[in-house]
Each structure stands twice: as structure tokens, then as C-alpha cells.
């Protein structure tokens, strides 16, 4: 999974005002971020690949596709994007909309260096963390995919909190056979304790939720 390794400290800026864009770029570079700038949403989308994580700084009033529209689009395709939104003028309803879409922060121009860097840092942190989470989830999912149907059934029963005997009677097999399946299942999932198994199950659940409710992606889920 080398291709999904998070790119370290790259910020993508969507801002059509050359002057302001330069100041953003300079500020971010001063704290060792790499920066890519785009004048319009369509410029950005030409470069965009959903498989990669993206740390974005987006101006709301872009010519053509607006910042809000872009955020909606990115959210809908479940890309690993963390975005900080810049707005030229305070508009509460847009701010609420943006925050619902899972923006890391909503900054009004002119914003201070501190606020900007804090927001970008958080976004960066988020995108890195989410990348790790995604990696974990993919690992767990892959392991679960190796289970036989019996082992999977035993896993489901264990997750549901049933005892060995109860599982045996439910599956119509002997308790001894249940133990063998459980032992194999634990081995395949690379867990050694029930606690570790519980974490796997959590990750599995989280992945299922993410896939089921795309809009819910964001820090709020934690």
C-alpha cells in the first residue's frame, strides 16, 4: 500500500487572487509546507486523484465552480480531504454549511498567521491520521476477508457476545469445534486477546459506517 502513504506536509491552495495567494504560499512555506496553488476548482480537479490524501486551503468565491461546490463534490466521493475554508466576507449560513461538510476550519479574511497555521496544522494532522485510520481499516478488512464462512460466523457470534456453548448450539456444532474455529479466526486476524479482537471489530464497524454514511466523514465521527 505504498501508493496510499500520506504525502508529508503538502498543502493545496485554491485562491484566484494572485496577491493573496502569494501571501498564503509564503506563509505556509515559511513553516516548511510544500505548496501547490490553483486559480480555479477546475484547475484543481484536473490534478485530483481520490486515492491520495489532500490537505486543502480553499477560497469560497472562486470563479466558476465555487469553493462550497468543490467541498460538496469532494465529500461526496469520499476522498481523504481535509479542507480549511477562507471567506472574504462573513456569511453565517455558508459557514454553517461548510462546517457540516466537515471543514477543519472556516477563516475570514484577513486572518492571522497564527489562525491560518493552526488550522492548516490541524488539517494536516487530520489528513495524516485519517490516512493511518484508513490503512488500519483496510488491513483489518483484508484479514477478515481471509476468514472461512465458519470462522466468520464464529467471529460474528463472538462479537455479538455469545459464550462458546451458545455458539455451538447456534451453529449446531460441538463446543470443541467452536474453539478450533475461534483459534483459527484469532490467528488469521493476528489478535491474541479478546481486547485486541474488540479493536478489530471496532475498526470493522467504523469502516462499515464510513462506507454507509459518506457525509458523516469527519472529525465528528471520533
Amino acid at each position: 500500500m505504498t501508493s496510499t502513504q500520506p504525502r508529508q506536509r503538502i498543502v493545496h491552495i485554491l485562491e484566484d487572487d494572485q496577491v493573496y495567494c502569494s501571501s498564503l504560499e509564503w506563509t505556509l512555506r515559511s513553516v516548511n509546507y510544500e505548496v501547490c496553488t490553483y486559480r480555479t476548482a477546475s484547475d484543481f480537479l484536473k490534478q485530483f486523484q481520490p486515492a491520495f490524501p489532500w490537505c486543502l486551503l480553499i477560497d469560497l468565491l472562486l470563479p466558476g465552480t465555487t469553493g462550497l461546490q468543490l467541498c460538496q463534490k469532494l465529500t461526496s466521493i469520499q476522498a481523504n480531504c481535509a479542507f480549511v475554508v477562507l471567506s472574504g466576507h462573513g456569511d453565517l449560513s455558508t459557514a454553517v454549511e461548510i462546517m457540516k461538510l466537515g471543514a477543519v476550519d472556516y477563516l475570514e479574511k484577513p486572518c492571522s498567521r497564527h489562525d491560518l497555521l493552526a488550522a492548516i496544522d490541524r488539517a494536516q494532522e487530520l489528513v495524516v491520521r485519517r490516512q493511518q485510520e484508513l490503512a488500519e481499516e483496510e488491513q483489518v478488512a483484508a484479514r477478515i476477508a481471509t476468514l472461512s464462512p465458519r470462522e466468520h460466523a464464529v467471529l460474528d457470534a463472538v462479537t455479538a457476545g455469545l459464550a462458546t456453548k451458545e455458539i455451538a448450539s447456534q451453529l449446531g456444532i460441538s463446543p470443541k469445534t467452536v474453539d478450533v474455529h475461534r483459534s483459527k479466526m484469532m490467528q488469521k486476524l493476528s489478535v491474541t486477546s479478546p481486547t485486541q479482537l474488540a479493536r478489530v471489530m471496532y475498526l470493522q464497524l467504523r469502516r462499515a459506517n464510513r462506507l454507509r454514511r459518506p457525509a458523516a466523514l469527519g472529525p465528528g465521527i471520533l
Partner: protein, 745 residues
């Protein structure tokens, strides 16, 4: 022969016969006739000598006597004429034939037979006188035989035909001396048959010249009444004929003029009685056909108020002073005509006490009078028009420097009309406001040099110290050597117009300002947005510098770069603020040279925010080269903002692509065209008509002044605003303005 018979014959002979003794001249015998010849009784002669009887004229007595004596002694017959003195002292011419014979009884005797030839002699004398008279006559006289051959011409004849001598003409035919030989021949034939002809004929000289002759031709008969000669007498009447011809010609010319002249030509008696009138005159007084005008008093046709002057005019003419007068004529149909009359004395041969008649030529001048009246009315109207328009005309004579001013020019300059003789260098130039004087003289000098017309507005200080504004126009006139001789022009007091225009401009400025202020609200958002970008950047740079400054080691280069950036951005912010202030300020219209492209860019930046908010892409199509205009840039920005604003508003509800195209281009007609094209729904028909109507709006919050103000501004710049709208394909507003000068001031 019987002696007695002889004696009887001798005694009764009609001749005087005498027998004289040769020795002593004693009359031996004389018959009765002889005695009668000399006034004696026959008996008295016996014994007397012949010389005492037949003595001749006292002057000749001796000669005659000697003659007779010599004759008596001579042998043979002697014949001769003798002048004798009769007994009573009268004279008698006799023709004598004397013969000597030897008489038986008396010896040598002379027998003389004498005949009275006094009557013949007298006739001869008379003939001689007549011949001299003919020869000396100033009439040319010629005799010709019955064939017409000339046998005699007198000196006058030769002179008339310019001939040197007889030999050149004698023997030539009579008909050769005339231009028309045929007529001449007829004349002479007539003369031959009827005995005479009198008339005129054109004579021809050998040198081919002509002259007019009065000719009298007579047939001369001999004693037997047989035709013998043709006599022609000629008088040169060329001069008279010429004079006559001229008289006739001039008379007929006069007649022709008299008859055909449309003027009234009339001969008047001194009291005004019409003696003659021509058809033109009849027409003028509208005399009915057949109406007898002659004999009437001409005063009948003269308006009564002119009678006295009319008669005075006639008297003056009779006194030798031809004169002219104008009066009103009343025709027989009671029509009034303005006429002018020339009167001159018309002498007549019969006038013993000076001329009694005048010749009057009367001409209809009604039309001229009407023209004169019209002209004077026109002049008057021009004066009134000049006064009303406060416009005067002038003419400046360059050589003398004098200017002719119309009355109104005097008033404009604060003088009584025609109260002085203005000169360019003095009265005119001194009246020009000192600050404008240089401008005026420059314009005039340029006009004099180029020959082109000039127009200039300048201030003047009137004689009473009041300042006025005038518009002056002028043009030079050149003589045939291309030298300027005169400058003509007009001057108009435009003070009120200028003040009104200024007031109007102020009102327009106010309106434009009000309209700008009305849009300021929505402009504010756009300006805030525009200002926000550099401010945002400033904040980040400043913060960055602060952060850098707090670090050790201190990064000097980084800091100075960013501070320079900060400085530049601050200036940029200031510029935005300045533009905003300029746009919103209450101001006086001021034109300057600017680049149309810059105008459009500025406006686009003003409207950037609104365009973004509306999701409209605005495309600017600007030429590579500057497009110069001489305009009030703020007002023109206002126009473009209004047009952009409208273009945005019509697309707010549009579901299709939202787009505005702003185009600038230079036209070949020295104009600049701005077009703002939207992709909205076009303009509904109901709105089109009221588009430029004030207070008409389709926007809930609109004032309805936008396009009205736009049009006012554009028109005040000498341009026009128009639109092309088609339902469904959007609307294009086009502003056309005169192009400005090509350099930035």
C-alpha cells in the same frame, strides 16, 4: 428787163437797197426799206452821204465809216454785219452786201443791200449768255443726241463724275453714268417719248463710287418741232438723301421704340394734356381698347397727392432741366402702380415761344419698390434677429485696421450703436479680457495665415466694466493676388447660454452623483471584497515578519523582502480607496485623456465581487494598443458599471451559462465603441420602449435612473448609447464615443 418792173421790185423789197457814188459816198438811190432801216424818210436820204446815214455806232463810227469807204472802193462783193446808228439814236444791226458796179450814167457806184439783223444779233447774244450760264452752272448739264451719245458736258458735270476733260465723256452713252443702267435707259426712253423726266437716280462714277443725283431730263426739239437733243441736268443730292434716309430711319426707329416700348412713352402738352401715347402706356394705364387717351389730361392717371410735383416736373423739363420723379399711377381699373418718370423738353418747329411739349417716359417700378421694401424689411428683420440672437457681424479692413460693426456688436461691447469707429488693435483688443487676449490674437493670426475660418469663445470686458462671454467666428477674404484684405465674422453674446450650460452641467453632475451614490451600497460589498484581498495578504506578511523577527537568528533578507511587499500592498489598498472616494465624491465634471482599456479594467475590478457572487464569468476583449479617449473617466466608469450591473441582474435567474463579454474597439470613424453583451433573456417588448425613461425600473430596489443617467453622460460626451436585444440570446449595449487625442497628457 423792163426798167419800170425792176424799179418796182427794188422799191418793194424787204431789204434796204441803196446806190452810192463810190467817189464821195453820196447816196444816189435808196429804197423805202433802206430809209426805214435807219429811221429816215426816203426823200431825206437823197444827197446825203452813206457814211452819215449808215454811220454805225458812235464808238465804231470811224471804223465803220472807213470800212464803208474802203468797201465802196473795193472791187467785187463785200459782205459784213454793220452796227448802225439810226436817226433817232437807236442802234440797228444790219447785214450788208455791197457790190461795185459801173453805172452808165453815174460811173463807179456801189449798190448795197442791207437787211435788219438786230433780232438775230440779240438772239445770238442771248444764246451766248445762256451758253455761259450752262457752262458755269453748278448743275451738271449734258447734251446727247437722240441715240444718247453725249455731245456736250459742262464743267459741273465733269466735276460730279470726277472727270478731267470733255474727251473722256463725249461720245459715251448716257446710260453709262448710272448704277442702274436699266432704269436709266427707261428714263431716257421716257424723256424721248414724253419730252421730259424729273426724279432721282443713283449715279456711278468710273471709280465705282456712288452718289445720289436729282435728275432733270428734257427732250429738245428743233424749229420744226422735231426731236433734236436730250438734255440732262443733274444735282448731287447725296447729302440730302443721306440725311433724309437717316431722318426716316431715326423716325422709324423712334416709332418702333415708341410702339414696342413696354414703358409708357408719351408726349404731353405743358398743361399735361396727352398728345401721344404708345401701346405700352395704354397697357400701363389699362385703357380699354379703342379708348381715346390723347386729349385727356395725364393728371387723371396720377395719384392726386403727386399732381403738384408732377406739373412742377414738366415745368422744369420745359425750362431745360430734364428730371426724374417717382409717383403712384392710378390705372383706369383703379389699380395703383409705383412708377418713375423721366421728363425732357420736346421741341417742335412750330414753337416760337420755346418748347411747349415734353416727352415723358414712365416706367413701372412696382416690383422694384416691393423689392426695396422687402430689402429694407429684411435689413430691419436682420437687425431685429441680430438683436434677439445677440449676434452681430463685423468686417475688419486689414489695411486701415478699421472694423465695421453692426449695431448689435456695439451693444454687445456696451456702446451706443455706431457711436464710434472701432479699430481692431484698439477698441476690439482692449475689450477682450486680458487673460483671453493672447488666445484671441493667436487664433486670428493663425486664421490670417491659413485662410481657414476660426471660431473662439472668449470673455470681454464691456465699456461699462461688465464681463461677458462671446463666441467669435471669422474668415479672411483674399484679393486676386492672394493677399488678405479683409476679415469678416460674427460675434455672439453667449453669456447666458454658457451660464445655462454650466448650470445644466452642474445639474447633470448632481444627477450623476446621485445615481452613483444610489449604487454605492452594492458597490461597498464589491469594494470591501477588493480591499480584503490585499489586506489579507498584508496581515499574513506582517505576521510572518513578526514571527521572523521573534526568531533567532534574525533573517534580515526575508524580512526586508516582505516589508517591501507590505509597502506595495498598502499602496494598492490606498489606490482602491482613492478610486472609491473619487467615484463617490460629489464633483465637477472634468475631462482628461485616458485609455479605454484601463477604464474597463477598473470597472471590472469594481464589479468583480458582484460577478463572482452571481456566478458570472466576465470576459474582457481589449485591443493590444491603447485606445485613447478624452472623457470624464469617473462618469464613464459609472456608465459601464450601470451596464455591467444590468447585465448581471438579468442573468441572476438564468439556468444556462452566465457570461458577460465586454469589448472595446476603435472604429474607422474616429470613434471608440464599448459593448457589454450578456447571455440573459433579452429585453421584453414592453420594457424596450421605456428603457431610457427616468424612474422606470424592473428591479425591486431600482431607482430607474441608471440608463437615463448613462444616456445623459454619453450624450454630454458627444456620443450615443444603443442596444441590440433579441429574446433568448441576450442583450448588447453599445456605447460609442468620439476618439480622443493619441497621447497621454
Amino acid at each position: 428787163m423792163d426798167q419800170v418792173l425792176i424799179n418796182a421790185v427794188i422799191a418793194s423789197m424787204s431789204c434796204g437797197v441803196a446806190m452810192v457814188r463810190v467817189d464821195d459816198g453820196t447816196i444816189l438811190y435808196a429804197n423805202r426799206r433802206f430809209a426805214e432801216l435807219f429811221g429816215y424818210e426816203a426823200s431825206e436820204l437823197r444827197g446825203r452821204t452813206i457814211t452819215s446815214v449808215n454811220a454805225g455806232h458812235p464808238d465804231d463810227k470811224q471804223r465803220i465809216s472807213a470800212q464803208i469807204v474802203a468797201t465802196l472802193r473795193r472791187e467785187g462783193v463785200w459782205r459784213g454785219d454793220l452796227l448802225n446808228e439810226r436817226k433817232d439814236g437807236t442802234q440797228v444791226w444790219t447785214h450788208a452786201s455791197i457790190v461795185r458796179v459801173n453805172h452808165d450814167k453815174f460811173g463807179e457806184v456801189a449798190i448795197g443791200v442791207q437787211e435788219d439783223i438786230s433780232s438775230v444779233r440779240q438772239a445770238e447774244a442771248e444764246l451766248r449768255i445762256k451758253e455761259s450760264a450752262i457752262a458755269a452752272s453748278i448743275n451738271g448739264i449734258a447734251l446727247a443726241d437722240l441715240e444718247g451719245r453725249l455731245t456736250y458736258v459742262n464743267a459741273a458735270f465733269l466735276r460730279l463724275w470726277r472727270q478731267a476733260g470733255n474727251q473722256e465723256v463725249l461720245g459715251r452713252h448716257l446710260t453709262e453714268f448710272w448704277v442702274d443702267r436699266g432704269s436709266a435707259k427707261a428714263i431716257f426712253d421716257t424723256t424721248r417719248t414724253s419730252g421730259g423726266w424729273f426724279g432721282e437716280l443713283t449715279a456711278l462714277r468710273p471709280d465705282a463710287t456712288h452718289f445720289e443725283v436729282q435728275l432733270s431730263a428734257t427732250l429738245i426739239r428743233d424749229a420744226r418741232n422735231q426731236p433734236e437733243y436730250l438734255m440732262v441736268s443733274c444735282v448731287d443730292v447725296s447729302a440730302r438723301v443721306r440725311a433724309e434716309a437717316e431722318r426716316v430711319a431715326s423716325e422709324s426707329k423712334f416709332r418702333a421704340i415708341f410702339e414696342s416700348e413696354p414703358c409708357w412713352v408719351t408726349v404731353l402738352h405743358r398743361q399735361g394734356t396727352v398728345l401721344e401715347i404708345n401701346p405700352g402706356g395704354r397697357a400701363m394705364i389699362e385703357a380699354p381698347l379703342g379708348y381715346q387717351v390723347c386729349g385727356e389730361s395725364v393728371l387723371r392717371f396720377v395719384a392726386p397727392e403727386y399732381h403738384e410735383r408732377f406739373l412742377a416736373g414738366i415745368r422744369e423739363a420745359l425750362g431745360g432741366r430734364r428730371n426724374r420723379q417717382e409717383f403712384e399711377l392710378i390705372s383706369m381699373r383703379n389699380r395703383r402702380l409705383w412708377v418713375e418718370q423721366f421728363v425732357v423738353a420736346f421741341p417742335h418747329e412750330a414753337d416760337r415761344d420755346g418748347p411747349q411739349q415734353v416727352l415723358a417716359v414712365v416706367r413701372d417700378i412696382t416690383e422694384r419698390k416691393r423689392m426695396e421694401r422687402q430689402l429694407s424689411e429684411t435689413v430691419e428683420r436682420l437687425a431685429i434677429a441680430q438683436r434677439l440672437a445677440q449676434l452681430g457681424n463685423w468686417s475688419w479692413h486689414l489695411a486701415s485696421d478699421e472694423i465695421t460693426w453692426s449695431d448689435e456688436v456695439f451693444r454687445i461691447f456696451g456702446y451706443e450703436p455706431q457711436s464710434l469707429k472701432p479699430r481692431y488693435k484698439l477698441e476690439f483688443l482692449q475689450a477682450v479680457h486680458p487673460e483671453d487676449r493672447h488666445r484671441v490674437t493667436t487664433a486670428v493670426t493663425a486664421a490670417l495665415a491659413s485662410g481657414e475660418a476660426y471660431a473662439i469663445e472668449h470673455r470681454i470686458l464691456r465699456a461699462d466694466g461688465i464681463e461677458r462671454i462671446v463666441r467669435e467666428r471669422g474668415q479672411v477674404t483674399f484679393d486676386e493676388r492672394k493677399q488678405p484684405i479683409r476679415m469678416d465674422g460674427t460675434v455672439q453674446d453667449i453669456t447666458e447660454a454658457v451660464l445655462a450650460e454650466r448650470q445644466m452641467q452642474e445639474m447633470q453632475d448632481q444627477l450623476a452623483h446621485a445615481s452613483r451614490v444610489a449604487t454605492m451600497g452594492e458597490m461597498a460589498a464589491g469594494i470591501a471584497h477588493e480591499l480584503n484581498q490585499p489586506l489579507g495578504a498584508l496581515k499574513l506578511y506582517a505576521d510572518g515578519c513578526l514571527a521572523a523577527a521573534a526568531q533567532e537568528p534574525f533573517e534580515r533578507t526575508l524580512l526586508s523582502t516582505q516589508l517591501a511587499e507590505i509597502s506595495q500592498l498598502t499602496a494598492h489598498c490606498g489606490e482602491i480607496i482613492r478610486r472609491l472616494r473619487q467615484y463617490s465624491a460629489k464633483r465637477v465634471s472634468k475631462r482628461s485623456t485616458c485609455d479605454a482599456r484601463e477604464l474597463v479594467k477598473t470597472v471590472a475590478s469594481f464589479m468583480d465581487h458582484a460577478l463572482r457572487m452571481a456566478g458570472i464569468e466576465c470576459h474582457l476583449h481589449l485591443p493590444d494598443e491603447p485606445v485613447w479617449l478624452n472623457v470624464d473617466s469617473v462618469q464613464l466608469q459609472q456608465v459601464l458599471i450601470n451596464l455591467l450591473r444590468n447585465a448581471i441582474d438579468v442573468q441572476l435567474d438564468s439556468q444556462s451559462e452566465r457570461r458577460i463579454d465586454v469589448k472595446v474597439r476603435s472604429l474607422e470613424t474616429a470613434q471608440v465603441e464599448f459593448s457589454v453583451c450578456d447571455s440573459g433573456p433579452g429585453i421584453p417588448a414592453a420594457v424596450v420602449e421605456r428603457l431610457f425613461e427616468p424612474f422606470f425600473t424592473t428591479k425591486p430596489t431600482g431607482l430607474g435612473m441608471g440608463l437615463k443617467v448613462c444616456r445623459t453622460i454619453v450624450q454630454s460626451h458627444g456620443g450615443q448609447i444603443d442596444y441590440h436585444a433579441t429574446a433568448g440570446t441576450g442583450t448588447t449595449f453599445v456605447v460609442t464615443l468620439p476618439a480622443g487625442q493619441g497621447t497621454r497628457p
